[in-house]
Amino acid sequence: MLSWITFIPLIGMGIILLLPRNNANLVRWTSLISTTIPLLLGFGLFAKFDRGSAAAQFVERVPWIPAFNIEYFIGVDGLSVAMVLLTVLLCFICVIASWRISDAVKGYHAMFLLLETGMLGVFCALDFFLFFIFWEAMLLPMYFLIGIWGGRDKVYAAIKFFLYTLFGSVLMLLVLLGMYYYSQPHGFDLIQLASTRPFASQTITLLGWQLPLDKVFWVLLFVGFAIKVPIWPFHTWLPWAHVEAPTAVSVVLAGVLLKMGTYGMLRMNFAILPEATKWACNFLAILAVINIIYGAFCAMAQKDLKKLVAYSSISHMGYVLLGMASFTAAGVNGAVLQMFNHGTSTAMLFLLVGVIYDRVHHRWIVKPDGSRGFGGIAAVMPVYTGIMGLAVFASLGLPGLSGFISEALVFLGAFSVPKLQIYVVIGSLGIILGAAYLLWMFMRIFLGPLNDECKALPDMSWRERLALLPLCVLVIVLGVYPMPVLDLMSASISQLLTLFS
């Protein structure tokens, strides 16, 4: 089943490439179907996933390149299943949201489906080599999606994204090779590596320095993943990529791609190199707090709505890191839940930014000349305002909506660790700042006297509402009762945490 979920978009891409160039609607429908089937299969995955088991499920395992012990080995466990579900859902929504893309429709949807396969592959792969292949496979469509369908500075943003991520990949490649050579028997099996954890006692000599192998691996991997998260100071590609990317790509970028960084850390740094992770605990917590606070401060200064949301992502990913650094059940579950919840709430925000951008073709909260870009559009777009309000409050962690529970779990978990308490106190400033920049933005765009330029704006179309509906439902339902998602992950996380107790 997992293979089908992963590769149906790729098949869809193949079909799209064969379709005639001038029939755009046929391309769109094909693309929609190719994302609907994985979504439906995702429901099956959700239903059948065994909540009690910590092991990988739906495993498919075929030798691929036996000479190097490389396998086609996929499966999902608690760490990844929620991410797979999030990915299939967001991709489905994104295809709906991309309906109005009109130039080079064929290429756009082909690239998008390739991207979906890449993302799903990363979350399903249990073989490091396969993981790396998918990881790189994502890069290419992303580059083109930003570089061709993006905004004004799209080429700069695309190249920046590409080079930056590639730099991370190179570090990961080093670890990939290193892990192969230093493990016995040589192999890339992540489950095997996590159970034997062979690197803790080994050392490596670099330029005459004798270094502990696991820490070297840890740092290399960490930087590789940190670029993706992104963790300060490796974050500056993100605002660029977001601002220039088309709406759907921003949604996927913030909703799914960022989570790959933290997912990768849990899968590799935490599971395979737990000793080094413990060693770096304080360091993680400090970076987490920097992310939270720094992202929030920068968000408040932004004049471009999309850039504000981009910096808010940086801030919110800080909570994930803080939860992870706590090594407690509440903290790590909260972190993974936050990955999911941030995926839904930030996807809502980006979709909503896209809605307004489609209408007025700018996103200025405050224009470069100092005048207001919008103002009082609640009067003409009440539904839009309502949904934006929901997204804003979900994002700032209002209780009753999904963001709160994950943040609360993160803080509860981290605060129960004495040495992290001070970071929790500083990090809690992010709760105030988060409310400040989001509500201030909300006030300047939606409330107050109606700006003359916005008088004729039509409210959201049914297609736009349809795209947002599932996310609205998720944000509310998981805010009231988060167990459906927590149940998926808690067993695996509990097992992972045995390494840290």
Binding site: A329, F411, S428, L429, G448
Partner: protein
């Protein structure tokens, strides 16, 4: 009973959902949905309260696991549920009654407003949140509902969303209270870290057993940390100094909202929190005195501010802050039963005052008291109700405010007599009592007495329809003391509201909270303090009313002269002690926004352009050097150089390629000859 409580909370939530999605299409925009929901909640709350009165005690719990995560040692669980005790029963009664009456009033007040259905949706959600908070048996759901009330407050203050002042006020309210909320949330984290639970019952037991004595959080005793964080939450929500700035601005909301949220219920949640957490505060030994000072300072400073206000709602707003200060002070000096009673009585008379002011505003279409005057005859019902509530808040005998305020002040005085170093606490409390009487009667005189200062507005003034007057009358009736202290001499009445019903209720709760018994020798002080406080507060209230009459009724002392005499103080008060200036102009505009801009520029220039793009420049530089090397050394010298050699060789070779067969033949023969010679020579 606990089941019933769930229904009490759920009905308004249901009304909220219906109103948001279908309200616009329902007849009368669905105001009856919200009214019915709160009405049924009231009907469900009455039996619980009745049981408290008849049996003297109610207790029931209901809990279920909301969230459970396996971990190596046991499981991380969050258990939530309902706790019905005597305080819950009283609060339920008070909240449903006040909210119900205010719903009714709103039908008249909000008639014909834009987004009428949403208004009712929001106040339904608000009622649900407040009720949810009241019945919560743990601090987590308490906090959840607490925040939801913050949301409702935000939505309702900014209800007139086209008005810049209103939206600014809503943002200010949400942000200011959120600062306190973060504190409360950290306190919650602390509770989980120390006790592993946030259920009140478990915390009471754990505190009583002394289990937390040796634990520390952030280097201070755990209970002290939690206590301060809880206090911070209460300061934000109950608008205590220095986070009081949001409440006066919150008056931008429609008046029923001011009555419901910013006077009667939500702001009292902070005090209710302190009461629920009282055992923790008490056990920490250090926090309570800070609580008392916060309350006393607030009560005094806010009362002073109320004197100079000219907006009728602003007077009431500062009065609310001041009265909340009393409650907080009451908790701080250990008289939490008195504080709770004041919370209840205050809710009734303050809701009444606000609704009366709403009635006046609705009638004369201004909030400025300088444009009112002489409304006594035009609006007799409103005037009578407001007068009763004013007498109550001023603390005159036979009114509810007397009963409760006197107890708070007695508690403060006893505290001051016991700990003579803290004499300032009762002093501020008594001073505030006198000032309260002064400014409240100033309000009454300016609004209802004298001659009309704006003929046009006075001319159009009229009494309100029955849906608006009825709530006033009911609330005014509740402002009499008999409900809380009795006896009336009427048997049927006294049997229901027996003289000591409140004492019994408090005694029951104290037992649940497992508080240490008070030390015996304090009893004497309490007795003396009580008599003294009674005399002081009566004298001060009388003096306040007397001076107010001199200035604003008789005009023997000119307010203008008074103002110029106290000119520096007046300026200070008029600028609200410059708190807003400090917060908005200095901390936010100069500090926060400047810092944000600096960080954003740092991010853009230092990190992005220098550190990140800088690499590309370095690479480009290396590239150009390498390129130059490639061009000059490798290409020109080595590659092209070798090409030159080849060319030379080519030239030489070309010379012999003449194209004539004879030359080739000679050359071949020569080559053959050489070859043969060579081969032979080798041998």
């Amino acid at each position: 009973m606990a089941q019933t409580c769930l229904w009490i909370v759920c009905l308004p939530i249901l009304a909220f959902v219906i109103q948001v999605f279908f309200g616009k299409r329902l007849p009368r925009q669905g105001d009856w949905v919200s009214l019915a929901a709160i009405g049924f909640s009231l009907l469900l709350a009455i039996p619980i309260f009745g049981r408290l009165l008849s049996e003297g005690h109610v207790f029931d719990t209901l809990s279920f696991s909301w969230l459970s995560l396996p971990q190596t040692a046991g499981a991380f669980q969050i258990i939530i549920g309902v706790l019905v005790n005597n305080f819950t029963a009283i609060m339920l009664m008070m909240v449903t009654l006040c909210a119900g009456l205010i719903h009714l009033f709103s039908v008249g007040y909000m008639h014909g407003e834009d987004r009428y259905h949403l208004f009712f949706a929001y106040i339904s959600l608000f009622s649900a949140a407040m009720l949810g908070l009241v019945v919560s048996d743990n601090l987590l759901t308490f906090f959840i509902f607490w925040e939801l009330m913050g949301l409702c407050s935000y939505l309702l203050i900014g209800f007139y969303y086209k008005k810049p002042e209103a939206i600014a006020a809503s943002l200010k309210a949400f942000m200011t209270t959120r600062i306190g909320d973060v504190g409360l949330f950290l306190g919650l984290c602390g509770l989980y870290a120390v006790f592993g639970t946030s259920q009140f019952e478990s915390i009471y037991a754990a505190v009583a057993s002394g289990a937390a004595e040796s634990k520390t959080l952030l280097g201070m005793p755990a209970l002290t940390f939690i206590g301060f964080m809880v206090l911070m939450g209460a300061i934000g929500k109950s608008a205590q100094f220095p986070l009081h700035v949001w409440l006066p601005d919150a008056m931008e909301g429609p008046t029923p909202v001011s009555a419901l949220i910013h006077a009667a219920t939500m702001v009292a949640a902070g005090v209710f929190l302190l009461i629920r957490m009282f055992p923790v505060l008490e056990a920490s030994h250090t926090v309570l005195v800070y609580v008392a000072y916060v309350g006393a300072v607030t009560a005094f400073l806010a009362a002073l501010l109320a004197i100079v206000q000219v907006d009728i709602k602003k007077v009431l707003a500062y009065s609310t802050i001041s009265q909340l200060g009393y409650m907080v002070m009451g908790v701080g000096v250990g008289a939490f039963a008195a504080a709770f009673l004041h919370l209840i009585t205050h809710a009734c008379f303050k809701a009444c005052l606000f609704l009366c002011s709403g009635s006046v505003i609705h009638s004369v279409h201004t909030q400025d008291m300088r444009e009112m005057g002489g409304l006594k005859s035009k609006m007799p019902w409103t005037f009578a109700c407001m007068l009763i509530a004013t007498l109550s808040i001023s603390g005159l005998p036979f009114f509810s405010g007397f009963v409760s305020k006197d107890r708070v002040l007695a508690g403060a005085l006893a505290y001051g007599m016991e700990h003579t170093g803290h004499w300032l606490i009762p002093l501020l409390g008594f001073a505030a009592a006198g000032i309260t009487a002064f400014y409240m009667f100033r309000l009454i005189y300016m609004t209802f007495f004298g001659s009309a200062r704006d003929e046009h507005k006075h001319h159009h003034a009229h009494e309100q329809p029955i849906v608006m007057v009825l709530p006033l009358v009911v609330l005014a009736t509740l402002s009499f003391a008999v409900w809380f202290s009795g006896p009336t001499g009427v048997d049927a009445f006294d049997q229901v509201f027996s003289v000591h019903w409140y004492e019994h209720a408090v005694a029951g709760v104290e037992k649940e909270m497992a508080l240490p018994a008070p030390v015996e020798h304090h009893e004497g002080i309490h007795h003396v303090a009580h008599s003294l406080a009674l005399i002081f507060s009566l004298v001060l209230a009388g003096a306040g009313i007397f001076f107010s009459s001199l200035v604003y009724l008789k005009g023997w002392i000119s307010p203008v002269k008074l103002k110029s005499f106290f000119s520096p103080i007046h300026t200070l008060l008029w600028n609200k002690y410059y708190f807003d200036h400090l917060y908005i102009n200095i901390i936010i505009q100069k500090g926060l926004l400047g810092w944000n801009r600096f960080l954003a520029a740092f991010d853009d220039w230092v990190i992005d352009r220098i550190l990140v793009d800088g690499w590309s420049r370095i690479v480009l530089f290396i590239k150009s050097i390498v390129g130059l090397f490639d061009d000059l050394v490798i290409d020109r010298m080595l590659v092209d150089g070798s090409a030159g050699m080849t060319a030379m060789g080519g030239w030489a070779v070309r010379r012999i390629q003449t194209g004539k067969v004879q030359h080739y033949l000679i050359a071949s023969l020569a080559a053959l000859g050489f070859g043969l010679f060579y081969l032979i020579g080798m041998r």
